[in-house]
């Protein structure tokens, strides 16, 4: 890699380029949030990617899908292709393993990552990704946004870091049985969530910042978890109140022994 290209990020540390280039990043969902993440990671210098998205570009994506054009709508370009071209345009030597399917259909490549970004649109999807990340020892970074209310819309979103050995999304109060139950009750009737580019950008940038810190520890904070809440109306990103109110301890939902391929203990 050219030393000029990354000269402006030298504050990340002398070994940062090497550390970044050796990391394998998984991104599940290459839509509004995932496309931002792909772009930024490629700019920063990440070289190894495992990508999942089974969707193609549609007209309604053009308000937010980074890298997509009108021509892609006509051509029904897979979102995976948009992401690959974004990466190769900045990192011609990158190793990109892309899967135009749900990650659950081909889960093995994801397990080789050190960091997984979850850019999915359901609580259940997030729960499943987190479980896989705990089982196969990967840092999990989740992003999501929504717009609530019709009369006076409120934009909200979150960026969450869940790391092996650290607090999980249930510990941090983000995933709850109530949320999962309400989502299950709406199955098939969830409708289209409002999505716009600028909150996605804020959330993706925050998530990428967490990832770079995981790789380089440039802030020296050694963060093992994070739950950041985005208020799109106030234009703020703050630590979640639920995090401030819990006792920071060990995760009670995932055990150190629950790693590796599932073992059935015969009864």
């Amino acid at each position: 890699m050219s030393t000029d290209r990354y000269s402006r990020q030298s504050f990340l540390g002398a070994s940062a380029e090497a550390m970044i280039s050796r990391c394998t990043i998984g991104i599940v969902g290459l839509g509004g949030g995932g496309s931002h993440i792909v772009q930024q990671l490629a700019h920063i210098g990440f070289q190894r990617f495992v990508l999942y998205d089974d969707d193609v570009v549609e007209e309604s994506n053009l308000n937010r899908l980074i890298g997509a054009t009108s021509a892609d709508v006509l051509a029904e370009t897979p979102k995976l292709h948009i992401a690959k071209m974004m990466i190769y345009g900045l990192q011609p030597a990158a190793s990109v393993r892309g899967f135009a399917c749900k990650w659950q259909e081909k889960p093995e490549p994801l397990r080789e990552c050190q960091i997984v970004f979850g850019c999915v649109d359901s609580y259940k999807g997030r729960e499943e990704l987190e479980i896989a990340c705990r089982r196969y020892l990967m840092h999990y970074i989740d992003i999501g946004m929504d717009v609530y209310g019709k009369e006076r819309p409120v934009i909200g979103g979150q960026v969450i870091l869940s790391s092996p050995g650290g607090l999980c999304m249930r510990c941090m109060g983000f995933l709850t049985d109530d949320k999962l139950a309400q989502e299950a009750a709406l199955y098939g009737n969830a409708g289209h969530h409002p999505q716009v580019v600028w909150p996605n950008g804020v959330l993706a940038s925050t998530a990428v910042g967490l990832a770079v810190d995981l790789v380089t520890n440039w802030t020296c904070r050694g963060r093992s978890h994070a739950y950041l809440v985005y208020d799109g109306n106030d234009a703020t990103v703050k630590e979640s109140i639920t995090l401030r109110n819990i006792k920071i301890g060990t995760c009670s939902h995932f055990s150190d022994s629950d790693v590796g391929d599932p073992i059935l203990v015969e009864l």
Partner: protein
Amino acid sequence: MEYSKEELEELKHYCTKLSLLPEGGVNFIYMEGLRLPAGCTPSVCDALLCPVPKDGYPSRLYLSTEVKSPYTQNWNVRNFRIGEKNWFAFSRRIELANPTLAQVLVAHLTGFTRDK
């Protein structure tokens, strides 16, 4: 959560093999070769019994495949990943006072044989 030996032995009558699958703080009971009620297609499949509250239900029965039966079900779980496999479940709320594991299982399976 520990399950009683007697209750587990009773469950074995319904399947060919019984195992424990711990994941995410829940001990699922893995039932290989669960025999489904008459009229179901397929007649046998693998199942995961979750006898504790999960996803807003007091208990849940996950199956390795969507099952056709005389009564239409609301399959609100499709390809949920548990234990690195994909599972299906239909919406069925079981409200029993202190049921045994077998009673929970049978109550879920009854959803295939009678209308709500």
